[in-house]
């Protein structure tokens, strides 16, 4: 008994080690920053990459641990580890595609990379939190850094507009979330996720206080994942932000928000899923429909990808609406994995197209890309096809897994709506391909990628991920399913905690 306690205390530090590494790395960047010119900030990016590498290795040790730390504030399970790894990889790819961008645009490198790392820290905190307050803490750490990053191009009115919109609406929505947390606390008497689940499983379901809190939390998370009708900020913030930050918002923020959303709703609030899965059914249906229909008429690639991100949130919530089904969680994790690589790649190509002080972000700017840069065009076509759900790419297998899980839960009509939506989405994804390959005219010349090796590497990584995750999905599906299962398999851990 005594020895067990000792070892538990000893390991209690493990879940937080990657977070500490991230924080230290971010501070190092800030300390070194003032010695570095803004035109030559790539070195700071390399520090950020090293930090992420260390955090990556430390996270690997947290696999198959399954225990609580800090009195139940954090949990080290495969779910957290899966999300942490995904967030770290996505952040690393984003840092890599920022290296040349940040110095070319003359952005303040120290602040930029530090904010990225702090934001990623908040994301990881959200994934590992086992306590509503810690989730809120992670969400705010992530969001505050992202608000600043969205407005990072101080002299660009669009960037300002997007950031202000994002900030005001975001602050408002976190208010909702916090209020919801307070009400859930009032209803269940605890802010810890597992005791909430236990309390709800024991009955206590139709408490109006709980339902109100649940609704408010739904709004808070709905805002962060850009679900309709809380999506209004998305296109402006995406368009105005520096492109790597847009990618970060589309991938990192979405992954982290879903990490928290899923853990709170599907695991903790799982026993009362009957109260909220109907609402999610409706939100999923309108989110994917509005996202796809609006994406049809966009001329700006970043806005198009913003609406595409909204639509993807809709597909993901299809998995949440199927909540009691165990397969849905694994499907969502796998979907997020494929989504991350595909979207990172698409944004990397958008960055590759931009020239100093001239953003090429209209869809028509892609015209003729296949003639001048066939490799880049082929990569972009691959990402668009994956987003459109063409096999055997990651996006398709993700949809396949998700649809299959939702059908297993009996959501036939929602799946039909999702399938029709996917067919609609083919139009605007194909449009990019048609611009690149089929339309006449348009000579795009860009700075050769050979001169920007980090960007080239991030595109190659994204291509490899998009193909591999789709073509050989088995290991990723297994680990996604195992990760979700570890989050659901909570009673065992709770028992350990009680023992302690």
């Amino acid at each position: 008994m005594n020895q067990f306690t000792l070892s538990a205390v000893h390991f209690a530090w493990l879940p937080i080690l990657p977070l500490i590494a991230m924080a230290l790395g971010a501070m190092t960047v800030m300390l070194v920053g003032p010695q570095v010119d803004d035109d030559d900030s790539a070195g700071l990016g390399v520090i950020a990459l090293l930090t992420l590498l260390i955090a990556f290795v430390l996270t690997l040790f947290t696999f198959s641990q399954n225990h609580l730390a800090f009195g139940g504030a954090l949990v080290a399970d495969d779910y957290a580890a899966f999300f942490d790894l995904l967030i770290i990889i996505a952040t690393a790819v984003i840092v890599a595609m920022s290296l040349d961008y940040v110095s070319d645009e003359g952005l303040a490198g120290a602040e930029y990379y530090a904010l990225i790392l702090f934001s990623a820290l908040g994301m990881m905190l959200m994934a590992a939190a086992d306590d509503l307050i810690i989730i809120f803490l992670g969400l705010e750490t992530m969001s505050l850094a992202i608000y600043a990053l969205a407005g990072f191009m101080r002299r660009d009115p669009k960037s300002n507009e997007g950031a202000i919109k994002y900030f005001i609406l975001g602050a408002f929505s976190t208010g909702f979330l916090l209020y919801g947390i307070a009400l859930v606390y009032g209803a269940t008497g605890t802010i810890k996720l597992e005791p909430i689940r236990a309390a709800l499983a024991a009955g206590n379901a139709s408490n109006p206080l709980l339902l109100l809190g649940l609704g408010l939390m739904l709004i808070g998370f709905g805002f962060k994942v850009a679900a309709v009708p809380f999506h209004m900020w998305t296109p402006d913030a995406y368009q105005g932000a520096p492109t790597p930050v847009t990618a970060f918002m589309a991938v990192g923020v979405k992954i982290a928000a879903f990490a928290g959303f899923m853990r709170v709703f599907m695991v903790s609030l799982g026993p009362v899923s009957a109260e909220w899965s109907g609402v999610l059914w409706v939100i999923a249906a309108i989110t994917m429909t509005i996202g796809n229909l609006t994406a049809l008429v966009q001329d700006n690639i970043k806005r198009m990808l913003a609406y595409s991100a909204i639509a993807n949130a809709g597909y993901l919530m299809l998995g949440m609406a199927a909540a009691p089904a165990r397969a849905a969680g694994g499907a969502m994790l796998y979907y997020l994995l494929g989504y991350a690589f595909t979207n990172l790649g698409a944004f990397a190509v958008v960055i590759a197209l931009a020239r100093r002080s001239e953003t090429r972000d209209r869809i028509s700017d892609f015209r003729g890309l296949a003639r001048t840069h066939p490799g880049l065009a082929a990569a972009m076509a691959l990402f668009m096809l994956s987003l459109a759900g063409v096999p055997p790419l990651a996006g398709f297998v993700g949809k396949f897994y998700l649809f299959s899980a939702a059908l297993g839960a009996g959501l036939v009509w929602l799946v039909v709506i999702a399938a029709l939506n996917s067919a609609i989405s083919v139009y605007y994804y194909t449009r990019v391909i048609v611009e690149m390959y089929a339309r006449e005219g348009g000579e795009v010349t860009i700075e050769p990628l050979g001169a920007r090796p980090a960007l080239l590497i991030s595109i190659v990584v994204a291509v490899a991920g998009t193909i591999l995750i789709g073509l050989y999905p088995q290991p990723y599906m297994s680990s996604a399913a195992a990760a979700y299962a570890s989050a659901v398999r909570r009673p065992a851990i709770a028992a350990t905690a009680a023992l302690r």
Partner: protein, 529 residues
Amino acid sequence: MGGWYLTGLIFVPTLGAFGVLALSDEVAIWRSAFIYSLIPLVISLHLFAAFDPHQAGYQFVEQYAWIPQFGISYHVGVDGISLFLVILTTLLVSLSLLYSGGGDITKRPREFCFMMLVLETGLLGALLAVDLFLFYVFWEVMLVPMYLMIGIWGHGRKIYATFKFVIFTMLGSLLMLVAILYLAGAARAQTGHLSFDLPDLYGVALTHAQACWLFAGFAIAFAIKVPMWPVHTWLPDAHTEAPTAGSVMLAGVMLKMGTYGFVRFAIPLFPEIAIQATPIFMTLAVIGIIYGALVAMVQPNLKRLVAYSSVSHLGFVMLGIFALNTQGLDGAIYQMLNHGVSTGALFLLVGMLYVRRHTFEIAEYGGLAKIMPMYAAFFMIVMLSSIGLPGLNGFVGEFLILLGTFLHAPIFAWFAVAGIVLGALYMMWAYERVMWGPVTKAVNQTLKDLSRREIAVMVPLVALMILMGLFPRPLLSRMEPSVNALLVRVQAAQARLDAAHAHHDAARHAGHARALAALGASLPPMADQ
């Protein structure tokens, strides 16, 4: 019987596609792409020779686990239904590449060959897949190179045609995906394990409503691909704007994916519903036959005319399929091959005119038989094959289909015969306007007759038309066991339906009898009863 034949068949073109990408010399590109396409052709001919004509099941089967969580495997095999479509595909790809290298495609030849070979992988994979997931993957894979082919090398309103093609097809395929997933889920509910393997899914017990919806999910996807009236509208645009080789592949093989889908998946998976839906499909098929023929007749554009003739001809195939008897199905499969050969040849011939004059307008031509006698001769044979002249291939298929339809429901056969007459009419009329009469345009005076390469492309097709017209036996005998196996399933379903019906009737009669008895008891006996 195993080996790697089918895997080689499917993936040699993929290898070739990437091999071609590495080349830069134009002649080398065309030559190596052609050689890469000959390898699958040789393999498919070997399959024909080694195929056991007495066996109904899949041959040359290969199966490896792919995504075990979902019971998905790489499972391929060939049977009497797919064998000839495979050969047709490999042949048409080779001929299209041979033809396109001769000046039809001048822009970006490397990408063109890449697309063509990837397309071949998609087509062959879809024909050989026995696993529904694998089938879906290939079904979608073939879409991408096709729309890029239309988009890049097409003409006229190619962008519009591309989008229309993609949206129509994707709409259908995504609904099919939902149906596939639902079906596999239903199978798991019964057997306890998930599987997408076609034979595993045959035995799934479904309620009538479930089967109806699932059949609809498959049937819509396939009907769009066929295309059946009224979802045919993407076809004339796609065919007309596509480059010649694209039209050949579209008409020659891709449309067959729709009819093949009915024969391979929709009907054997849901035979009861297929039987009950027969009147709907036969009506639509007949409308397609007559509508396609009538619209073809008024086309001023030669390529569009051929495109609409496809709507009409595919209507025949659908009619034969839904006759659901040996003659009809044999005829339908035979007619799929015929249509591939004849319409493929027609599109090639139209393309040969286009490279010379850059127009498809019939009015721009006239009297070509005097200037290009060899061209006119080939066109004549192909046209006669297309309208079903006895002795050529088209006749065998149409005859069998009409026979099957007549046995099933004579009324549809009468309408179909009207379609044949109309078909002969528009084809011969077009031929007359293009080939005969005086040479109306001075530019046409200097047109060159067929080149050696063009002759080399046409000769195998014309030879096939004659061979398939005179000796249908080697083909039909290989199809028959597989077709009969399918019909056994259909007849079993028919028996179940009859039994259910009889039961229902009996119940109703019993009910009537009881009511009458009650009535009789309540009434005073009548004198004159």
